[in-house]
């Protein structure tokens, strides 16, 4: 059986950046396994712009952003397999994949980077009552059919959920001549980026109905309409507020779920909030030598942060392969009072880097709040924020020098005045 120093599962933005970073940190023997027939992952179908502002200080489309990293992988001569679907991984880092060219292959890794990305929540998960006609797509499926395959999926559209893909698709379908009648969002706020609401809905006069959901789906063969209703504070539809919208297409942009089917076999601690594995400040899971980054770890808002996080995972995986660095006790990072979770979930105060970026999302829209960091019960940081929204990822950078010794606890929370 072949043995590789590092196997990266997934050749999307996370996997590419991780592999490049590991190579630059000195790992020679790397293999990227990608199930699609091209590298780049979901970026390939994101033909809109807005990528790369942080990483490259310029505005790129998804394919352009991916191309930059694919070029780096090629420059570094990092081997990759396409059409190679990993079907299982084990605690011992035995990776089994299948492909058309190679058949079923088992390879052993010294270190593994999980970079499988995420998937969209389907209609079924929402349990929307009604019939089951054609014309209901998750926003990303519709995006693929339009942008990669070159087909139109509908003419009169209602979008449920104001996640970023839904917002982008509202604009995309409008530009392609479809009539997007409304975007309905269950929550009292959008789950997407502010800039997308402005550029994709406001600029095209597409109404966003907050605190609304689809309560019934109509149509036998093809969708003929949906019924929307306002929801109360418990997200239950309010009787009497039903409104019928005739449409042939319903796009769902109702959340993304990290794709951790493979991860389960590792028996690592999973976060119930992120649906990804819990990691330490090296982005290492409970299973030694297995690292995670990108949307399989937690769903990001910007790909730039995915690349940054993945580069860190790659660097740490390289250190693991090359020098088996020392590890010590870890301290949990607690998310509290409006902070839903943090990544990493814990850190090793003795061996941590001088600065550790902790990313998180908040639970609701907050105005004029502070993000606070407590160390051993004492506040060490207080950052004023005019607006905090669940759709945007936040971060604080913990400096090793400012953490108390011996470190007992870290708590990140929001506070009013």
């Amino acid at each position: 059986m072949k043995i590789h120093d590092l196997i990266v599962i997934g050749g999307g933005p996370a996997g590419l950046a991780a592999a490049v970073s590991a190579r630059r940190a000195g790992v020679q023997d790397i293999l990227i396994l990608e199930r699609d027939h091209v590298l780049g992952g979901i970026l390939n179908q994101c033909i809109h712009n807005g990528f790369g502002l942080h990483t490259f200080k310029e505005e790129l489309t998804g394919p352009e952003y991916a191309a930059r990293f694919i070029a780096q992988v090629k420059e570094e001569n990092i081997p990759y397999r396409l059409g190679a679907t990993v079907i299982s991984i084990s605690k011992e880092k035995l990776v089994t994949y299948v492909s058309r060219e190679e058949g079923l292959v088992q390879v052993q890794a010294k270190a593994l980077i999980l970079a499988m990305g995420c998937r969209e929540r389907p209609r079924g998960a929402l349990n929307i009552p009604g019939s089951r006609p054609a014309g209901i797509f998750s926003a990303g499926t519709a995006q693929r059919l339009m942008n990669i395959e070159g087909y139109q999926v509908g003419k009169e559209v209602v979008i449920l959920g104001s996640g970023d893909i839904g917002l982008i698709m509202a604009r995309r379908m409008t530009l392609e001549g479809a009539k997007v009648k409304v975007v309905a969002e269950l929550m009292p706020y959008s789950g997407g980026l502010k800039r997308n609401i402005v550029q994709c809905l406001d600029d095209f006069g597409i109404p966003l109905k907050l605190s609304h959901t689809v309560v019934e789906i109509h149509g036998k063969e093809r969708l003929t309409g949906v019924t929307l209703a306002r929801v109360d504070e418990n997200r239950r539809p309010i009787a009497g507020t039903e409104e019928y919208y005739a449409c042939d297409t319903l796009l769902l942009s109702v959340g993304l779920l990290p794709e951790n089917e493979l991860t389960r076999a590792l028996d690592v601690t999973m976060s119930r909030v992120t649906n990804g594995p819990e990691v330490d400040d090296r982005l290492q899971t409970d299973c030694e030598g297995v690292f995670a980054c990108g949307n399989v770890l937690h769903v990001h808002d910007l790909v730039d942060y995915v690349s940054e996080e993945a580069a860190l995972a790659g660097k740490n995986a390289a250190a693991y392969v090359l020098s088996q660095p020392a590890a010590g006790r870890t301290v949990d990072i607690t998310a509290d009072n409006g902070v839903r979770y943090t990544v990493p979930q814990k850190l090793d105060p003795e061996h941590m880097a001088d600065a550790v970026t902790v990313r998180f999302r908040v639970a609701d829209v907050y105005r004029d709040r502070y993000i606070c960091v407590y160390c051993n019960g004492e506040r060490i940081r207080r950052i004023k924020k005019r607006v905090l929204a669940p759709g945007e990822m936040e971060q604080v950078i913990l400096k090793k020098s400012e953490l108390k010794e011996p470190l007992q606890s870290i708590r990140i929370c929001t506070e009013v005045e």
């Binding site: 299948v98 389907p122 499926t141």
Partner: protein
Amino acid sequence: MRKDYDVVVIGGGVIGCAVARELSRRALRICLIEKGEDVCSGTSKANSGIVHAGFDAKPGTMKAKMNLLGSRMMPKLAEELDIRFKRNGSLVLCLSEEGLPALHELYERGVANGVEGLAILTGDEARRKEPNLSGNAVAALYAPTGGIICPFELTIALAENACANGVEFRRNETVTGISREEDGYLITTDHALIGANCVVNAAGVHADEIHRMVSKLPMHITARKGDYCLLDKEVGGYVSCTVFQLPSALGKGVLVTPTAHGNLLIGPTATDVEDKEQTPTTAAELSYLTKTAALSVRDLPTRSVITSFSGLRAHEDGGDFIIGETPDAENFFEAAGIESPGLTSAPAIGCYLADLIAKKLGAEEKADFVPTRKAIPRLAELPAEERKALIAVNPLYGSIVCRCEQISEGEIVEAIRRPVGAVSLDGVKRRVRAGMGRCQAGFCTPRLMEILSRELHRPMEEICKNVSGSELLTGTMEGRK
């Protein structure tokens, strides 16, 4: 009159396919007409997938007889057709002391029907067997012969086997009229005029409409809708037996069961509906469903629902199956009012009707009848070495299309190319489970459409979810300009 066939079977559900398969043992010219784009597209596609032990039906009824026979035939049939069947056992829960007499009555009925191995368990005994059972269960009827089967697999395997033995399948064809001629029947469809000696009515919820085309005797079928929720495989082991509650007048009530494929299924509700074509789920029923199922087990994991759907039961006013030659229409045979335990009874009904017809027509057994059929290989379930060997022979088995269920392009191509093959996304899904997993076809839809388009030589815009009219695309980008 010109005779195109000896026997025309109307309806490609599990009953029609079972009758056709049994008839194909004989030297007869047979065709099956199905109005859907595929077999297994009515009641057979949306039911509980249970092989009932046989304690429910009143002793002496056709339901009781066919249930027991069908349940006994199932193991051999499953082996012949290479489909999954598991005797996982059934439990009927009694959730209050007041229910105990009814539970005992059910036990007695089961014994009278000839069901083997029945036992009444105390609540604690039942919970030892099934740890997630509700603490409120005071007693339970245990039936070790209860089982689970995949209704798609059974129906499609019967169809494939019937086809291999000479039955002609005419899908996408609707019977619009039947006239009785001197020496047979003339069947009018939306495509053709078909002459036959003998007709079998297995039209499910529409059986009464077909019946009225030839018979003056009363028959009335009510479509009784049942909503279901399907849960993720991660909770497929939540119960190992099929867990019922004490039955009511409308049916066997809401059950919680593992499926043959390892998901967890809860359902069905029971609501009589007017429209026999539309089967929308309703918020009220889905909510009733989860509430009622939650009475059977502790902490029902409703977070793990991956889809909900509904099916229609064909309930005849008389309450029993109507199986046999229609008294006022010679050579017109019927299997009507086939509601639960219809799936279980299908093999028995198939044999029963085929025997009657063969006798009536004096048809001989064929020497070359092939009773077996091989399933499409299920690569995800094979050990690595076998999987490797298969991919070496057919590289398409190495290309995974449906990630959730790990279904390869090779399996999908086979589902399309087989006799009575898939012609729609739903057809592929029912044959090989592509799109049946937790992402509900989010990722694989474009790939599946592409493969269907290539294999069927149809443009992408013509690829349908199921029947004509359910096209997924509305045009090409170029077409807009």
